[in-house]
């Protein structure tokens, strides 16, 4: 005869991890680190505002039009970097490539406030390449068309690859609370070059 279970008991059995209790010290250290990183970002935003004119004068693209509710700022500088098979003409200051794969690049803030697991995207900037049809609000910029969509605190920008690049759609997904704004993201996405080794992700 087959055993019969009520749902609560079944969930209870499934929820048991059998793992020993963890010392709260690691959670506290992680949380305090994130709080200090947030404070540093707020200070940096002030410095970016003061230095704006000088930054523009040396040919960088700066993110200046922060709203009062956006405490953090991310600066894009005209410096090329590689995340094979992708190349970027602009570099976000204070952010670094965490993982690069033929179908995606993950970029994280240097302050350690995000997960070390490259498959966890919370708080990160993710560049993806796929064949899905772009949709959302249309923005035209520098002769190219971009689509803006998003919810739950994240925004996704999409654009078609250039002639000569692997055919498809390249996207950037970014968190709303990490100092990015749409204008700088359009600039950043427009700076992405998709190399021959890129593969379209599924989904």
């Amino acid at each position: 005869m087959s055993p019969s279970h009520d749902l609560t008991r079944a969930l209870q059995a499934a929820a048991e991890t059998g793992r020993p209790a963890v010392d709260p010290g690691a959670d506290l250290a992680r949380a305090r680190h994130a709080m200090h990183a947030r404070a540093r970002r707020r200070v940096r935003t002030g410095l970016v505002g003061v230095a704006a004119a000088a930054v523009l004068a040396v040919g960088t693209v700066a993110v200046l039009d922060r709203s009062a509710t956006d405490p953090a700022g991310v600066e894009l500088v005209a410096q090329r970097f590689e995340a094979t098979p992708y190349t970027f003409d602009l570099t976000p200051q204070g952010w670094s490539v965490q993982a690069q794969q033929p179908w995606a690049v993950t970029i994280v803030p240097d302050d350690g406030s995000t997960s070390e697991d490259p498959d966890v995207f919370v708080g990160k900037l993710v560049i993806m390449f796929d064949a899905n049809r772009p949709d959302g609000r249309v923005v035209d910029h520098d002769g190219r068309r971009f689509w803006v969509s998003g919810d739950s605190g994240y925004t996704t920008l999409a654009t078609r690859t250039r002639a000569g690049e692997p055919s498809g759609v390249v996207r950037i997904q970014y968190p709303a609370d990490a100092g990015w704004d749409e204008r700088s993201m359009v600039d950043f996405l427009a700076s992405v070059h998709v190399g021959a080794g890129a593969q379209q992700g599924s989904g």
Binding site: S2, P3, S4, H5, D6, L7, T8, A10, L11, A13, A14, A15, E16, T17, R19, A21, V22, P24, G25, D27, L28, R30, A31, R32, A34, M35, R38, A104, S113, S115, D117, D119, V120, F121, V122, V126, M128, D130, S152, G153, Y154, Q173, G201, S202, G203
Partner: protein, 177 residues
Amino acid sequence: MRDSERSAEFVVFVRAHRADLLRTATLLCAGDDAFAEDVVQTTLTRLYLSWGRVRRADVPLAYARRSITHVFIDEARLAHRRRETTLADPTEALAAEPTVGTTDLVLREIVLGALASLGPRQRAVVVLRHWHDLDVAETARVLGCSTGTVKSQNARALAHLRDVLGATDHQLSLEVS
């Protein structure tokens, strides 16, 4: 609020409730231990950053459970492209499980396999309604959807769980609400 005070309260909270949050995350993440641990860590960090709201909550653990659901939904949505390609047919996975073991261990693997075959929001509905015992209205509020959506998602999820478990040597007796 002083940092030392916040930290002291946080440590007490983590010591008391981390295991509970990890169990919730384990269900939400359908047994993906690394994903569950990451959801817990992210949630605890968010709670620390907004500790004032945790303190003001009528039931801090309930606040934390809502937070962990939001973190899971966010992460699942973000990771969806990659994760959805790795989910296998749960009944295939179960066929490879050893046939010996305690009833609870076998049941655990079966239920986690069945949960893995649900979408993230359906899984969240099951956890909120049947693990956290929230009513339909509260579940809808946590997930930011209508009560009708919660009811339909719940009904579909339970029917699916019943089907998957029915394909094994286990039966799930449950009421669709």
